[in-house]
Amino acid sequence: MIRDNRRLDLLLLAALISFMILPWYRLRSGFFGLGWVGDYLTDDRVWPGIAQLDRWWLWPMPVLLGLAGMLRLSMPPARRGGWLVILGAAGIAWMMAQGLSVGLRGWNWAALEALGPVDGQQAFGAGAIGILLCFAGFIAFGLAERGALKGDAFVLGSITLLIGLVALFVFYPLVSMFTGAFQDFDGSFTSEGVVRNIGDPKIWSLRCVTGSGGCGVAWRTFFLAMCTATGTTLLGLAFALVATRMRVPFKKGLRLLTVLPIITPPFVIGLALTLMLGRAGFVTQFIEDVTGWELGRWLYGLTGIWIAQMLSFTPISFLVLIGVVEGVSPSMEEASQTMRASRWRTFRRVSLPLMAPGIANAFLISFIESMADFGNPLVLGGNGGVLSTEIFFAVVGAQHDPARAAVLATVLLGFTLSAFLAQRLWLGRRNFATVSGKGDGGRHAALPRRVAWPVACVVFLWAAFTVFVYGLILFGGFVKIWGLDHTLTLEHYTRAFSVSWQDGIVWTGVAWNSFWTTMKIALIAAPLTAAVGLLTAWLIVRQRFPGRGLFEFALMMSFAIPGTVIGISYIMAFNLPPVQMTGTAMILIFCFVFRNMPVGVRGGVAAMAQLDASLDEASLTLGASSPRTLRRVILPLLRPAILAALVYSFVRAITSISAVIFLVSAKYNMATAYIVGLVENGEYGIAIAYSSVLIVVMITVIGTFQLLVGERRLRRQIEPAVQKRPKEVQA
């Protein structure tokens, strides 16, 4: 009870500071620069909410805060909880209503003019956002005081905050975009564009099945995604099995190798494939010279995209699957073997089914990645694009047709959501807690021979192919003009990254500006993404709150939204009050966090599903609060998932292009957007040199992450495998 009061006091204090001291409206110069402090007394634009009360729509704020204070003084926690929830909800509702209704120049909606003229207002600033957070806090603490979720204020606070963030950064932009689809240029309502696009045969045609022409873009994208998901999952599983279950040389190198493709800006692989297999590629020319066949443009289209996506996404499913393969309890396999199962039968009947949920996860992730992929189709798509590029061209191209973009986005969303649903229904019934609170020893069974050999071969070949492609990329940065003049040169590197010394370091290279911006933003976004993602995973797996399924569903949906759509929708949502962020670093960071978070969530969910729930419960009954339980018990056991989330979000922030290309500004330009510009200008040399440097930097940072997070300290120590009987030397 004392604790309930103390935390409410702190919250009320925060609310007072937000309302009485912090600038209510957004500052053009930025809040964190603190440049506003000097103008505080003279400039009414930096005044707090209490000084803005000449705007009548802010009057409910002091009233609601006053009521909250009265509740605190007059009622014990158990009785006031419900009222606090109502207060908080009312506050948030009113803030949203007034923010959306009153824009820069008065009413946003013609229907409201009847209420009389109003002054315009700026977007929400620190004060307004602080108040919003405090209202969310009222809801969380009120629910805790009512005893919801066993009265855990931390859990309730996290849930409230996450729901608010997801609503703001996932749903609000989407809604803004769809409203945009139904608006004419002058802002009035029209459904003409949507109706025109919804039945377009270019999207839905199935003529390739009947043999008379090409299929619609929807079906082609679907087909591609199925192929990519199947291929990458199988390859990822093969890599995971080799890395964990086989005694092969260069295992560490294998892991490093599989990380390579995700740290590569997507169009670079496309570029390398073009240099190799394109019409003028050296492999193509070699084959044509030797055999006399005419290979032509076979690479451009689904085949090329598929190969590039296989290179790009196999490591992602490898990262997912390695945890799964390691998580299968060895005693299960040992049990099976003692039940007279052969190694093959053990693998097929025990190991594989236990891995099935993880495999389904990997498949889902690859499927959606492929559907949303933008970089590879942009480079290799040729004449037939896929949905994501079609969306892009629907907006930026000559056609500028937001309605078409919205329709295509809905189709894309339909596919990815169906995949998500199918996986959920199949996965929902299976839960294998293979890391229990009980220690179990034992060693993983070796792979049956009929699996081991093919798997090893495939992995070896793919690894070789990958090395080759990367060698090509690195090499490309050092030749004058690829395909024409193969003289070795450092010219590209010096143009991009030259440094000179004039009273300190001067970054004279053309790449430095975007490079430093990218690093800064990626390093801020990565830990945020991992934290939000894993916190969400923990809430979803461990807390039984009403609407949990819906919450998870909403989160996963954000994963299913392709980057192009996110980019456009962010522009449409955050360009005007009440929330205005375009042109800032903030919009890039939020974009990365909410775009990459679902992968952290999925990884966290998969990892946490293998942690017995009684571990959390034990910690709670030992007196640890839920944040402490998270920190002391869950996080140490989730290190691989944390590492994966950190690495993934960092790397994605650096290599992402689809959403970013809409959100960069002169002040905050990102490396990928800059490189795309170089490619458009035909400056392949610098583009490749810049990409190579990015790859090296990412490897360094990932290595550091790996050291920081460390290896998971599990019950199963890596013990020297029981010595096999020395094999006879083969003749």
Binding site: G151, K438, S614, S619, L620, T621, V633
Partner: protein, 351 residues
């Protein structure tokens, strides 16, 4: 501060629903300080749910829960003065044994050094001194179990909760560990709530047993009361595998009932019985067998030799009876006709 009620537990009209399933319709119970109470029942009877509500891991749908006189119904698990030994032990696999034991103390704000000392004492208490630096996976099952107990005990909780703590141990170890737990509880005088489905375990450790069935209390009392005065055929069967046979109470006088069963006439404590048909609980070891004709005849169906005693299944007029013969030395063959008798001490009318 030690309140006079420290360690007392009360459930007041507690109801628990999981969605549409009613796990516990309406449960009220009292536990006195220093008492070891066992919740006993078949799986799905609500005993673990009751324990988890006491721990704060589930919230009751209705009703109140009090620990030490304080209403804790809405208090989260980490703010309740209880600790729990889990069926799976739930030892943190990434921490050493000593870290496991010290973790709760550090959660409570103790510095790492002193916490370590207390943890070492706790490990001494359960006979694991010197094992602190090991990982849980390097201990045997029995040792892991004792770490779990030590981890719960060092917090000096008002109430120690044990959720089937012995179910992962082998039979011999089970007997020893249950004695150790009982000893510790007697020595340190804490209140304990013990959940099990094993009636022998319950009889051995408890001050009082609460038998649960379908979320309700079927009967509660001392081990002896439950064993000797079962309130229903469920209890008679569940506690000590008694035979429940139909009988006829012919008359009742001075607290003694005269009962007709299977052609025999017996006197048993009346327990509020009235003349008329009734049920009689007959312990397996209260049946005597003789290889001859008699008023209560039966035929051996199967027999088993268990070293110190023989077990029989006997077909009789009142049904199949299970009997234990501690005196015979050679088992009777199946098919042998026998005459049955009763020892008075193993008989009880089911009230």
């Amino acid at each position: 501060m030690t309140s006079p009620k420290r360690g007392a537990v009360a459930f007041k009209n507690v109801r628990k629903e999981f969605g549409s399933f009613i796990a516990i319709p309406d449960l009220s119970l009292q536990i006195a300080p220093g008492e070891l109470v066992t919740l006993l029942g078949p799986s799905g009877c609500g005993k673990t749910t009751t324990l988890r509500m006491l721990a704060g891991l589930e919230s009751p749908t209705q009703g109140r829960i009090l620990i030490g006189g304080e209403d804790v119904t809405r208090l989260p698990a980490n703010r309740r003065d209880v600790s729990m030994v889990f069926q799976s032990y739930a030892l943190f696999p990434h921490m050493t044994v000593a870290q496991n034991v010290a973790d709760g103390l550090e959660s409570g704000g103790m510095k790492a050094g002193p916490a370590r000392d207390v943890a070492d004492k706790g490990l001494d208490l359960v006979g694991l001194d010197g094992m602190g630096a090991r990982l849980p996976s390097e201990l045997s099952g029995g040792q892991q179990q004792r770490v779990a107990v030590a981890r719960a005990l060092v917090l000096e909780p008002q109430v120690l909760l044990l959720d089937e703590p012995l179910s992962n141990l082998d039979a011999r170890l089970r007997r020893r560990v249950r004695t150790e737990i009982r000893d510790l509880q007697q020595r340190l005088g804490f209140t304990a709530v013990y959940v099990t489905h094993d009636q022998e375990e319950a009889l051995a450790v408890s001050d009082r047993i609460i038998v649960m069935q379908d979320g309700r209390i079927a009967q509660e009392g001392t081990p002896r009361a439950l064993y000797e005065q079962p309130a229903s055929d469920f209890i008679a069967d569940f506690i000590g595998e008694a035979n429940v046979v139909p009988c006829e109470v012919s008359h009742v006088a001075d607290g003694v009932a005269t009962v007709q069963v299977g052609g025999l006439t017996q006197t048993v404590p009346a327990r509020n019985a009235a003349p008329g048909p009734a049920q009689l609980s007959v312990r397996a070891n209260a049946i005597t067998l003789q290889e001859r004709d008699g008023p209560f005849a039966g035929k051996i169906v199967s027999s088993a030799y268990l070293g110190d005693h023989l077990e029989y299944e006997i077909d009789t007029d009142v049904g199949l009876l299970f009997a234990i013969d501690a005196e015979g030395d050679a088992p009777l063959r199946p098919g042998t006709p026998v005459s049955l008798g009763f020892r008075p001490r193993g008989l009880a009318l089911i009230a």
